[in-house]
């Protein structure tokens, strides 16, 4: 287990999954995906929205996506919160308990990049500092529709809308 203080430098073992692996994962999980959610220090807003995914309005089961009680059955780790110091170890244990291949999704501003907390004495700030993240779902909290989009994007069943933008400058107009 990586201890808290070692995390100042990005873990070299955390790498982005290759495209081939991603394809394989999408092939495996495309039609049926089981999610294990871990709250690593959120304000409960993200949980409230995630919980609503199974409500009649969003009914994520119709998309073949289910929540599971144990990481042993999970294909995807859905992490919310600013990764508090006390949750680092449980989070890593959860990830370790998942079978491979496994996906990790950072949900909400806190898990994506710290939100208002950032890196502090009590929060790690970014999920990507300890686990390889496949998809980031920004928002505070992300709406259920944003969550669905993020999950489908992870599975290769939706298109990514946002792309890195380098804006032309008004003064000299270069891109």
């Amino acid at each position: 287990m990586v201890t808290f203080e070692l995390l100042d430098e990005p873990d070299s073992s955390i790498t982005e999954p290759s495209t081939a692996l991603r394809r394989q994962i999408q092939h495996l999980f495309g039609r049926s995906l089981h999610i294990r959610h871990v709250d690593a220090g959120s304000c409960n807003g993200c949980e409230s929205e995630i919980k609503l995914l199974t409500s009649p309005y969003y009914d994520i089961h119709r998309l073949g996506i289910f929540f599971t009680t144990t990481p042993r059955h999970a294909d995807l780790l859905l992490v919310t919160g600013a990764i508090t110091r006390a949750m680092v170890d449980p989070l890593q244990r959860t990830y370790a308990a998942m079978p491979e291949p496994r996906l990790v999704v950072a949900t909400g501003a806190c898990a994506c990049d710290g939100g208002i907390f950032g890196r502090s004495c009590l929060t790690l700030g970014r999920l990507s500092a300890i686990l390889p993240v496949d998809t980031y779902i920004p928002g505070c909290p992300p709406t259920p529709l944003a969550l669905i989009h993020g999950l489908l994007l992870t599975l290769g069943r939706a298109e990514q809308r946002l792309h890195r933008q380098i804006l032309a400058h008004h003064a000299d107009g270069k891109a």
């Binding site: 992300p142 946002l162 890195r164 032309a168 400058h169």
Partner: protein
């Protein structure tokens, strides 16, 4: 009793969103994400109101790896969609959009960058 619940469910009808088959747009005025208009931004005039007002540092001035150039970055990952920057922006270069499909594969994709060339003195101060 069970029948009562059944009836209630039947009366409720289908409320499930058509998304992702068809879009399900959020209501007007929903704070989906801030969008930056490079044409209007006065960052090169030294206007950093939005950067100062942003609590999660989603709007920040960064030094480009070459160590000379700086740029304004709007990073949606830490953004809490509070809209303070939109209110603060004197030129209206920032506005809130209501779209919700923000998920990205790579952190870079959530960034909007306004490059900015500046003269940098030897001790790093402008």
């Amino acid at each position: 009793m069970e029948l009562g619940w059944l009836l209630r469910g039947w009366r409720t009808g289908i409320v499930t969103t058509p998304y992702p088959t068809r879009p399900d747009p959020p209501p007007q005025g929903f704070r989906g994400r801030p969008q930056l208009d490079g044409e209007r931004c006065r960052i090169d005039d030294g206007c950093t109101v939005c950067v100062e007002v942003c609590l999660p540092r989603a709007l920040r001035l960064e030094t480009v790896p070459n160590g000379l150039d700086r740029r304004l970055v709007l990073d949606l990952l830490p953004c809490i969609m509070c809209g303070l920057c939109v209110q603060a922006c004197p030129t209206g270069a920032l506005h809130m959009q209501s779209d919700g499909e923000l998920a990205v594969r790579s952190p870079q994709d959530a960034q909007t960058i306004v490059p900015l060339e500046m003269e940098v003195s030897s001790d790093g101060h402008i």
